[in-house]
Every structure is written in C-alpha cells, then in structure tokens.
C-alpha cells in the first residue's frame, strides 16, 4: 500500500497537497512518488465514530487521513493508501484525484 505524494524535481522536497511552484526552491517541475508509511501525530474522533488523523510522512509533509480498518494512537506508523477500502488491517486513507500534479495526465 502507498499514497501518491508530489516531489519537487529541483530540490527533492516532498509536498502535499500539490503545489504549482515549489515553496522551497521555486522550480515548477514535479514528479509523483509513492509514500508507504507515515507516523500518527494526533487523532480526533467525530460524533459519528469516524477517526481522523494527522500524520507526518518521514522527511515529508503532514497529511490528514481517515483511519480505516481499526484504531490507532499517536506514535503509530500506519501504511498509507489512496484506496478508501484498503485492507486488511489498519490504514491511513488519503483521498487524491486521479493525478497529484496538475500538469501531468
């Protein structure tokens, strides 16, 4: 399992959500890379039971995800996915459109 993340071809910065120009180096050439895991920083449970989390991708951005397939606590490392029905096991679901970078088909 993995989730699509934007990578700057100029400086290698990992970015999410995708940018149009890299905030670090100013270049506008990007690729899409797959991030496999991220570390849970905080969670919040909504009134309907939905569990959401803030996670940090190693050497990358903070992302907001829905926790699927179970529960988690800060400090856990969870597999990332763009599939809301991923399984089995606990995953961090990050919704994306079909492409992360707007200039790519």
């Amino acid at each position: 399992m993995s989730a699509a993340i934007q990578a700057c071809l100029g400086c290698g910065s990992l970015l999410f959500p995708a940018r149009l120009i890299c905030p670090r180096c100013g270049q506008d050439d990007f690729s899409t890379v797959q991030a496999e895991h991220a570390d849970v920083q905080q969670t919040t449970q909504l009134a309907d039971g939905t569990l959401l989390a803030t996670l940090t991708i190693p050497n990358g951005p903070h992302v907001i995800a829905r926790v699927t397939g179970g529960t988690t606590v800060p400090g856990d490392s969870l597999p990332l996915t763009n599939n809301p029905n991923a399984g089995p096991g606990v995953h961090a679901f990050i919704p994306v459109r079909s492409n992360v970078n707007e200039n790519q088909p």
Binding site: F16, P17, P23, Q41, Q42, T43, T44, Q45, L46, A47, T50, L52, A53, T54, P61, H62, I64, A65, R66, P84, F93, I94, P95, V96, R97
Partner: protein, 379 residues
C-alpha cells in the same frame, strides 16, 4: 496614521434567517446602520469594500450600485476571517493616498445550513480533493487536532478552554446582538456533546446569518468620538502550511505592528481576537505578545481572561455572538471600535487601546491569513 473609524453597524445575527433573506440585504442593512452611527449618508461615501462568501452572482460593484454609492475606490476581499484586516489595511492607505475620503468596509453572509454545507465542501481545491472526500465536513476536526497539539505544548486541559468559552458567554449576556446570551457553566461546557475530540459543542462557533460594517474617515473632525487606527499589518502563508499551526501569521507581523502603533502589548485594554475555537484565542494572544513567554498559559486564562482583567472578545466573540461567514473577521473590529467610541452599552469597558486580530482561510490544515490592527480611543 491619520485615519479613524467613526461608525459601526450590524445586521442582527440569527441562526434561522427568515425566508427571502439575501446576503445583499444583510450587508446593506449593516452599511446603513454604520453610516447612521457615523452621522453620514450614502452620498458622503466615496470608497467601499466588501467581503462575503455568498454574495454571488453579485460583486462589490453590483452591491455598491444597488446601495446607490458613487465611488472613487472599490475593493472586494476573499480572505474570510482575515478579510476585515485586509480591507482596513487597504482602506487606510487609500485615504492616506487621497483616493477616497469616506470608506465603508462591510462583510456578511446568509449562512444557513445549506449555504454552510456548500461552503465547507468546496472551500478550496485542497478541501475538494483531499478533505471533503475523507469525509470531513468543515474545519472542526482540523482544529480538534490543533487543539490537542496546543494542549500538549502548553499543558492546557479542557477546563482551561472552558474558561474562555464561559468568560465570553458572560460578556455576551450584555450584548443584545449575540445569538447565545444564556449563561454557560463549566459543567455545561464539559458535558456538552462531543463534536470532534477534544472539542465539544461550545468550542465550535455557531454559523449565523448577519453582517457588519464600519465607516472610516481621515482624521479631521475633532470632538467626534472615534477609534483611531494606529497600525494595520497582515501576514499570508507565513509558514506555507509546513508547521504545526500553533503559531499564526501574527507571529510574523506583530513586532512591526506594535512598532508602527508606537505602543506595546502591555498598553492594551481590550483584545478582540478571532475566536473560531478557544485554542485560536490562546494562539493569537500569544503571537500578539499579550500572553508572554513568561506567563503560565493556564494561569493567564484563569486570572486575566476569565476575570475580565484583560477584556477579551467583549461582544461574546464568535463563540457566543455567532460566526456570520466572512463577517466573522469584521466582528471583532466592530466591537473594538464601538468600545473605544463608548458605544458598547452594558458591556462597556474602560480602554484607551485595543488590538484586533483576524485569522482565516484554512488551506489544508490551518489558517493561512492573519491580520493585526491596533486602535486608539480619540476625541
């Protein structure tokens, strides 16, 4: 600076707008009240700015036309909770540059359940692509996790945030325009239904329908109660959404804001900070320097805010008065100006200087816009 606010107006906030209510009507009503408060007429106005999420298909020029305004300066701001400060910043410069003499700033929204649902589902591209499909309906969950980070960083607990909500409700009891005026106890706060852990019902602003406006003029009329603008600063994308959101953009502009005003945090007798959540009250008071590094945050809340020793959000803030869409950013400015002009009724405080902050536009995880205004009571 040589510009002052001489009038404020509000279209009454309501949770349940009557059928047929329109955003344009609400804003026009607030503008009329502000002009009446200033002793002016629409024919005196030559500058106008507006912020609204629900004004479409109209724009600022349509609204100005429908209100009968003939203008030499016009703007429309889209930065939600930071829009009032942004419009004020531009308006002050416009008056100083001679582009206009009398400027009305207005903000308002028809924010019923349907409008709120539309707004939060398509707030921006990041929301449409990455948050709404989670699903996430509005920013409560984001600020719940931000609050958890702040609790851990500052050693705060739910009771500390409760003291802010309870204190603001105490102020709201003396504000006829607040939608919630019934006293709020700590037990009621703590036992309210959970919205997104650790946020309960009273940690979250109630969306309301309403509008706010202020009238700005060059400082010429001695003897007229006014709120003189000592400084206006803004900060956008100060950290590119790469940090934890515990510091707002105010941290980047507060120093120059105080320097321009010629006073410091210790001179402030009233703080109207953007209170979409109690945690953001704490964050902004810290970024402005009112809650200093030497202060214990929990003690500061209990002994300065809860006691009213430092009056904070004396209208009841958005937490009790309501968040009227883009008018949420204008709410604190109207309250601060009314207080400094001695027109705050039963909740009137004695203050010579007030600081107003705006905060807003959650790009992905927290707000990207911040504004700071320092006002002084003058005659």
């Amino acid at each position: 600076m040589t510009v002052s606010i001489i009038g404020t107006g509000q279209s009454p906030y309501t949770r349940h707008p009557s059928a047929g209510t329109t955003t344009s009507q609400l804003i026009a009503r607030a503008v009329s009240k502000a002009l009446h408060d200033a002793g002016l007429q629409t024919s005196d106005v030559d500058g106008f700015a507006v912020s609204s999420f629900t004004l479409a298909p109209d724009h600022a020029i349509d609204l100005a036309w429908r209100m009968g305004l003939r203008l030499s300066w016009l703007m429309q701001d889209t930065n939600g909770g930071a829009s009032a400060g942004g419009m004020l910043q531009h308006a002050v410069r416009a008056i100083e540059a001679g582009d206009a003499n009398v400027i009305v700033l207005a903000a308002g929204d028809l924010m019923d359940q349907a409008a709120f649902s539309r707004l939060v589902a398509s707030y921006n591209k990041a929301t449409e692509d990455h948050l709404a499909p989670l699903p996430m309906n509005g920013p409560n969950a984001l600020f719940a996790m931000l609050t958890s980070r702040q609790m851990e960083r500052l050693g705060l607990c739910r009771e500390d945030y409760g003291r802010i909500a309870v204190a603001q409700r105490q102020w709201a009891m003396d504000n006829p325009a607040a939608v919630y005026r019934k006293s709020l106890s700590m037990d009621e706060y703590l036992n309210a239904p959970m919205v997104a852990t650790p946020l309960g019902r009273y940690d979250c602003v109630p969306p309301v329908t309403g509008a706010d406006a202020v009238v700005l003029v060059a400082d010429r009329s001695k003897g007229t109660p006014r709120a003189k603008v000592l400084s206006v600063k803004a900060s956008y994308n100060s950290d590119q959404q790469s940090d934890d959101g515990l510091a707002t953009g105010l941290q980047a502009c507060a120093s120059s804001g105080w320097e321009q005003a010629g006073i410091g945090p210790s001179d402030i007798g009233l703080a109207c900070v953007y209170d979409d959540y109690p945690a953001m009250v704490v964050a902004q008071l810290a970024d402005l320097g009112l809650l200093s590094d030497q202060d214990n945050p929990a003690d500061f809340i209990e002994h300065r805010i809860a006691t009213g020793l430092l009056p904070v959000n004396t209208s009841g803030g958005q937490l009790s008065a309501g968040q009227a869409g883009a008018a949420g950013g204008m709410h604190g400015l109207v309250e601060a100006a009314a207080q400094l002009m001695g027109r705050a009724g039963a909740r009137q405080v004695t203050a010579r200087h007030a600081v107003v902050s705006g905060y807003g536009m959650v790009l992905y995880r927290y707000g990207a816009c911040a504004t700071m205004s320092v006002l002084e009571a003058a005659q």
